[in-house]
Symmetry: C2
Subunit: 239 residues, 2 copies
C-alpha cells in the first residue's frame, strides 16, 4: 500500500494468484474508496501505486483514461470509476454486504453519494484559489449530511456499522482537518454546526477498514503543499 | 404521457392505486431513460409532465433539485437521478431483467454509460453555439460505441434484445437526426463511419419500448427551435 509510485519507463508488477490488483495513488480520495471496500470486505488484493504526474505507458492498457483507481482480476479483466468498482466488489463478494438489501434504501444511499459529489468539486476549487463563496457552498452541503444523520438516528449512515455511503464519503472527511494546517486562518469549520458529523467522524476513525489507509492531517497537508509547489510528493509514506 | 405540462400554481394529480408515478418532461432525454425502463419491463405507471421553465411549487417536495425524471411510489417515497431510477426499477421488478447477472459485465456496461455522458454534455454545448471542435469530439466518442458494437458482435449492446446500456444511450440517438433539420449545413454525421451504430439505431426503432415514447426528428427539431426562441413549447404533442 505504501510502495513507491510507478512512473513512465517502469514495468508492471506481475499479478498474484488468488489476489485482485488495485491500482492506486496513496493520497487519492477516489482510490481510497476502493481500498475501503476491499478492506471492509477483507478481499485478498495487492496494490500498485501509479505516479499520476508521469503515468507508466502500460497503465493505459488497464485504464484508457489513465486515472486511479482501477482494479484488475486474476484473468486480466479491468474496471475503473470508483463507484462502479465499489458496487462491483459488493456484488461479486457477498461477505460483509455494504449496501441495503432493500432497493429503495440502496437507491436513496446512492442519491446521497451523488449529492456528495459537489463537495469534492468545491474542495478542488478551494485548493485552486476558491474563496469564501466556495467554502460556504461546502458548509451548506455538509448541512444536508448533518441533517441526514439526525433523520437516520444511527451511529453510521449504514446503521450500527459503516456501509457503502459511509465509505464513499469518508476520504474527504479524512482530508478536511488538513485545511486547518494548509490555510489556518481562512477556512474554519464551525464545529457546533456539525455535532453529529463530528461524532460520526470520530467513530469512523475507529473502524478497522478506515484505520488501514488512514493518513494524519499533518501528512495530508504535507502532500497538499507538495502539489502546490508543482512537484507532488507521492512517496511521502514510502519507508 | 402526452398530457399538458404542469407549472407553478398547479396542483398535483392524485397517485393511482397499484401504479408507480413518473414525473417527466416529454422532450427530456434523461426522463426518457426512465420511460424506456418502465415500458421495457411493463411496470404499471402513470406520468405527470413538469413544465421545467416554471416548476410547480409542490414538485420540490418530490425532488428538491426540481429536475426530471423522478418517480414516486404508492407510499409516497421518491427517487430521482435517471441512472439511479433505472437501477432501482431493474432491481425492484425482476421481470425482463435489463442488466447482466455477471457483476463484471454489468460493471463494464456501467462504464460505457459513464463514457457516454460526455456526448450529452457536448450536444448541449453544440446547441449553445459550440463549433466544429465540439462536433468532432462527439464523433470521436461515437467511434468508441461503433467499435464496442463490433467487439460484442451482437445486434444490441445487451445481446439479442436491448439491455440497460442500449436504453440509457438511446434518447440521444433519437435526437441526432434532428440536427440535420436544425442546422442542415453545419453538422453532418458521416454515415459510413458508423455502419454498426446505424444498423443498431434502425433495430432500436423497432423495439416495443422505444416505439412508445419515440418522437420524430421533425418534432424534436420543432421543440429545439422553440427552446432557441426562449419559449420552450413543452406541449407540442398535447392533443
Amino acid at each position: 500500500m505504501n510502495e513507491k509510485h510507478l512512473g513512465k519507463g517502469s514495468t508492471n508488477v506481475p499479478l498474484l494468484k488468488g489476489k485482485l490488483r488495485l491500482y492506486s495513488m496513496r493520497f487519492c480520495p477516489y482510490a481510497q474508496r476502493a481500498h475501503l471496500v476491499l478492506d471492509a470486505k477483507k478481499i485478498p488484493h495487492d496494490v500498485v501505486n501509479i505516479k499520476l504526474s508521469d503515468k507508466p505507458e502500460w497503465y493505459f492498457e488497464r485504464n484508457p483514461l489513465g486515472k486511479v483507481p482501477a482494479i484488475e482480476t486474476e484473468s486480466g479483466a479491468c474496471l475503473y470509476e470508483s463507484l462502479i468498482i465499489a458496487d462491483y466488489l459488493d456484488e461479486k463478494y457477498p461477505q460483509r454486504p455494504l449496501q441495503s438489501k432493500d432497493p429503495m434504501q440502496k437507491a436513496k444511499d446512492r442519491i446521497q453519494v451523488e449529492h456528495f459529489s459537489k463537495i469534492p468539486a468545491n474542495l478542488f476549487k478551494l485548493f485552486h484559489g476558491g474563496g469564501d463563496d466556495t467554502f460556504d457552498a461546502i458548509l451548506t452541503d455538509l448541512d444536508l449530511f448533518e441533517k441526514e444523520l439526525a433523520v437516520r438516528g444511527t451511529r453510521f449512515f449504514g446503521g450500527d456499522v459503516p456501509g457503502m455511503l459511509d465509505y464513499m464519503i469518508w476520504p474527504w472527511f479524512e482530508r478536511i482537518d488538513a485545511f486547518k494546517i494548509v490555510a489556518p486562518d481562512r477556512f474554519v469549520v464551525p464545529t457546533d454546526r456539525y455535532k453529529k458529523l463530528n461524532e460520526w467522524k470520530e467513530a469512523m476513525k475507529e473502524d478497522d477498514a478506515v484505520k488501514i489507509t488512514y493518513i494524519t492531517p499533518e501528512i495530508h497537508a504535507e502532500f497538499i503543499n507538495s502539489i502546490k509547489t508543482g512537484n507532488a510528493n507521492y512517496d511521502i509514506l514510502v519507508k
